[in-house]
């Protein structure tokens, strides 16, 4: 399916404020409600709009520490990636897993209630992961921008 300028305008408004009603969205995008509705339906069916995710603020739940763990793997074993990722999924405090092409192979976002809790997780769950060649931690201080909007 081809996305045209009207679709892009609609998506721009929608991603800027996903809580807008269909009517408000149509008005902001400068089209009729029926047209906006039809376009959104079509983009959903085509898999261009893949979902609407609720954003959880972990700090509000008492998880005050977030660390970005950058892992370099020992890739001498072909299964290293799959094994580490499967193990990381089993750690409840891991909220994101990414794989990369670059100096870093894998990134885990880990949250913890406080530094003591983080230290405990690091010792018992992270350092015990297999195939790890190097670990580097970036401690989150502040989030300056986090909207993940596409520059449509």
């Amino acid at each position: 399916m081809q996305v045209d300028d009207q679709d892009r305008r609609l998506l721009r408004q929608y991603q800027a404020d996903p809580s807008l009603s269909a009517a408000a969205l149509a008005e902001r995008a400068g089209m009729t409600r029926a047209s906006a509705w039809r376009r959104l339906e079509r983009m959903q069916a085509a898999g261009i709009i893949t979902g609407l995710r609720g954003v959880i603020d972990w700090r509000a739940l008492g998880y005050g520490v977030e660390v970005s763990l950058r892992l370099t793997l020992d890739k001498s074993q072909a299964s290293a990636f799959d094994t580490v990722i499967a193990r990381a999924r089993d750690i409840p405090e891991v909220i994101e897993i990414q794989t990369f092409l670059g100096r870093v192979d894998l990134r885990l976002s880990v949250i913890a209630r406080d530094m003591h809790h983080y230290q405990e997780l690091y010792k018992t769950r992270i350092l015990t992961l297999p195939h790890i060649a190097e670990i580097e931690a970036l401690m989150q201080v502040a989030t300056i921008k986090q909207d993940e909007s596409l520059p449509l």
């Binding site: 996305v3 998506l11 995710r53 954003v55 739940l61 990369f100 990134r107 986090q146």
Partner: protein
Amino acid sequence: MIDLDDTDRALLRALAQDAGQSAGALARRLGLSQPTAWRRIRRLEAAGVLAGRQLELDAARLGFGVTVFLGIKLAARGRVSLEDFERAITAIPEVQQVHHVLGRYDYRLRVVARDLPDFERVLRRRIMTLPAVGEVEANVLLSEERLPGPIG
């Protein structure tokens, strides 16, 4: 900070995956009355736990084939203004996330681009030209997954 019971956790898990569900649909799924589901969702929002909604789009289908995570170390020369740097970097449309971090780098960025040449343009013309920028490390995203976190 609020305490969550099992029902709150189930609601939060469901909303994190699909925030487009109505209170009625959630109530049916979890065996609650609609007013109860509605009241609990409002409470999660009021406490800041449910911090918002994020539209999920297939970036590649919309022409954004490349996502890069950048680590930026600020230049040591002279005194750089963090405020100026943060204002300039967040104004770049391709920059989706900016996190201030402690560790090997000072900032962690998520950047989208149409392809690698487009990324190089953003990096060279928009990011490297900022006076505060020192060392930069780029890792190209290959895969990504989000996990429910410690409410599972």
